[in-house]
Symmetry: C2
Subunit: 261 residues, 2 copies
């Protein structure tokens, strides 16, 4: 969908996995709606649906809070009822703190994220319901959902504001198959070339000469052990060419100072 791609702020998102629709039921503060739009766009989630926002629609407070995510608000669809907002969806999750005693599977945010990827890959359209600030979803809204989504937080302090809940749920979906993560742990950048072994050896040579001049090696017996310790250190720490140049400079400077004494 072209609108979705441009809302992502770049032109090359054609192969991004499809995200769930985010459905805010009776949201109260425009500022929170704007912050939800930002949280969604952070995670490349773009289909925002609103059920009877308290202060009407459009809402200038929402636009002010959305900052760079205003396109999501402009594309947002507004519905009179929750049933209408989910009518074209196939699999709907209701975000609640607890299972509410209903006969529905309860997904963690992570399990829900994986489930949505799996279902979308099969052509199933998914949506996630979020209730109003303070009160959360009513049971009649939860009854419209296929399953419960519960964010597993510290039970001693689990209250989140609306935009934070949208952020964690959206991020959990993103992380289930994150095209922006690249390598899980990226190595140091290419421009910082690792030092060649002979460059490290040249550094060792300079250091050893200086240390000998300064009578660092108190006895001939100690010398091999001390040199091995130093060499182990230099070869272990993953020095770059820049590191080697820096250390040459340090050693030169230090020995220069000592000669001045």
């Amino acid at each position: 969908m072209a609108g979705t791609n441009s809302a992502l702020g770049r032109q090359d998102e054609g192969d991004l996995p499809k995200a769930a629709s985010v459905i805010l039921v009776h949201p109260q503060l425009g500022e929170n709606i704007g912050m939800c739009a930002r949280a969604m766009l952070n995670c490349a989630v773009t289909d925002l649906r609103l059920v009877k926002p308290r202060d009407g629609w459009p809402n200038p407070d929402a636009e002010a809070a959305a900052a760079g995510a205003v396109a999501l608000l402009e594309n947002a669809k507004v519905y009179e009822t929750t049933a209408a907002a989910v009518a074209d969806l196939d699999f709907v999750l209701a975000t609640t703190a607890r299972g509410r005693g209903m006969v529905k599977d309860v997904y963690t945010a992570e399990a829900a994220g994986r489930e949505i990827h799996t279902r979308h890959a099969r052509g199933v359209d998914c949506g996630i319901l979020f209730g109003p600030e303070r009160t959360g979803l009513e049971n009649d809204d939860v009854a419209l959902a296929d399953a419960i989504l519960s964010i597993p937080l510290n039970p001693g302090f689990s209250s989140l504001n609306l935009a934070q809940a949208v952020l964690l749920v959206s991020y959990s979906w993103l992380c289930a198959d994150n095209p922006f993560a690249g390598e899980e742990i990226a190595p140091a950048l290419d421009e910082n070339e690792p030092a060649k072994k002979n460059e490290i050896e040249n550094l060792m040579t300079q250091l050893q000469e200086e240390l000998e001049k300064n009578r660092f090696f108190r006895s001939p017996e100690q010398k091999p052990t001390l040199l091995r310790n130093i060499r182990n250190f230099f070869f272990r720490v993953g020095m770059t060419r820049q590191d080697v140049r820096t250390l040459h400079g340090i050693f030169s400077s230090l020995t220069g100072k000592r000669r001045d004494k």
Copy 2:
């Protein structure tokens, strides 16, 4: 640590894994510090450290925003320099949007969460640096860290506010070994007992009798197939005892109506 446990809002957290210290470097708005404390406590992260907060400390705006997480602010330690704030830590991550061209490993939030669990299990104390609103960490602060932590978000819109960054990083740590998640997908609650097979069969019997009265089975050849389709449905959908009672009532009511015609 007793203070940590009581800050979690419950008494039985003795076996919770140890979290990283959260170090806010030069935070500007008190409200954001309070929201960071909430985000931390949501995820059972409790050691908050502040480096030269702009508006001094303590800060009434922070307390107002922290709501139920005020204990974290009261226990927060304040430092003059980033170096002092990390002095007693062994492994420090710097949260930045990009690798900054420094020779450091770059962890995603998820990889960092796992790494912190692994290192804490070996007795290594970890901390995570967050820079000031707008500007982020200065290079001199990043230089004090062992590695970079970068949250992998939509590159077309990756700006997060400070508390949201703390929330995602804390939650990623929590999710790496979450004692609050229980089963990834929790089954329906026990109080909603599944129906016994014979209860479903009784329902089938009632339905079949009513359908025969109403000449639903147009030909004897069709009857076994139609009954099998119905039975397949009833046994497949995972009915509870309550569902069976509800359907008995529906069938009785429908046939009662039909008799009245």
